[in-house]
Point group: C2
């Protein structure tokens, strides 16, 4: 049975444990062994910083023991995904492991930037692109997020599924699991 | 001579080429061979999405050929770093390569969340932590960003340098290069 690292910002949700338990249950229904992040025993007596480093190292070890990753790249506190999850996608891809990603927000990244983050204030620049009032160029590659994240999923032969849905329904997550099951079945 | 991948969101800056040229010059002054991202010849005839995938793959190849990474993790369009850069930190760390990180914003992540993103609206929860009005828990590990990013730099024996400074002055970047030079000299 293949083990999948369940990356995502659920650890910050109101019912973090419940969400990760639910994701683990769904993962098993698709025939995979779930490896959630943050499922860590922290030794007593550590200060906050040392606790953070301990959790970080444990998450890395969990990834080292996983065969592939399914990452929740739904926008988090801004127009892009959670940086911790983005880091984990890179960590797994750097090891040559398969990446499947999903988002509960179907809007393309470019739309989240133009209509969301910049709220119509981005303007054409001399090179024919768009820039925000902060001077930053807006990426427009028809992707779900920063091109490195889309590349991680697609160039490796995985998938990036984006479906509008309530976070706790896990519709895009299930679609991702279905794509992963199909891929592993074909190996 | 060690080759360093110069990860960061400079590719979106108004003078992206100038900024990356300047970072490359400074890198050489510290005795390293600079490998900037986005220094890519894109074949003609590709649509926007294919161009994005091509750039993503080329950046990955550049990382494959680099010995270590120095990542600009200055907050980008929100309280956290650029997700593309976070991905690249993970990619290099997943390959067991050394991570040095810097930020031109010295404020701890927790302060950027409480005073910046949530602007005082975060409230204590039943577990003794803080939550935003969106229900999301605020990480408080005395770190510079999400704990995975700090872990990548510190648990691997690198450094995370945060100094308030204008982006184009590259003060924190230089401090990072100095730390990297010292580390490689001790090998």
């Amino acid at each position: 049975m293949k083990r999948v690292y369940l990356a995502g910002p659920e650890v910050f949700w109101p019912d973090a444990r419940g969400a990760l338990r639910r994701k683990s249950e769904i993962t098993r229904q698709f025939g995979f062994d779930p490896a959630p992040p943050g499922d860590v025993q922290v030794p007593p007596g550590l200060d906050a910083h040392a606790r953070g480093l301990h959790i970080g190292r444990e998450n890395e070890k969990t990834m080292d023991g996983a065969d592939f990753i399914i990452a929740n790249l739904t926008p988090f506190r801004g127009p892009s995904a959670d940086v911790g999850t983005a880091y984990e996608v890179g960590y797994m891809r750097g090891q040559g492991k398969k990446v499947f990603a999903y988002s509960d927000d179907a809007r393309p990244y470019f739309v989240r930037l133009t209509e969301g983050y910049y709220a119509g204030a981005a303007q054409p620049d001399a090179a024919g692109g768009l820039r925000g009032p902060d001077g930053l160029r807006l990426e427009d590659h028809g992707m779900h997020d920063n091109l490195m994240l889309d590349t991680a999923a697609l160039a490796g032969g995985g998938a990036f599924v984006a479906l509008d849905g309530a976070p706790g329904e896990f519709a895009a997550f299930r679609a991702c699991l279905a794509a992963a099951r199909e891929w592993w079945a074909g190996r």
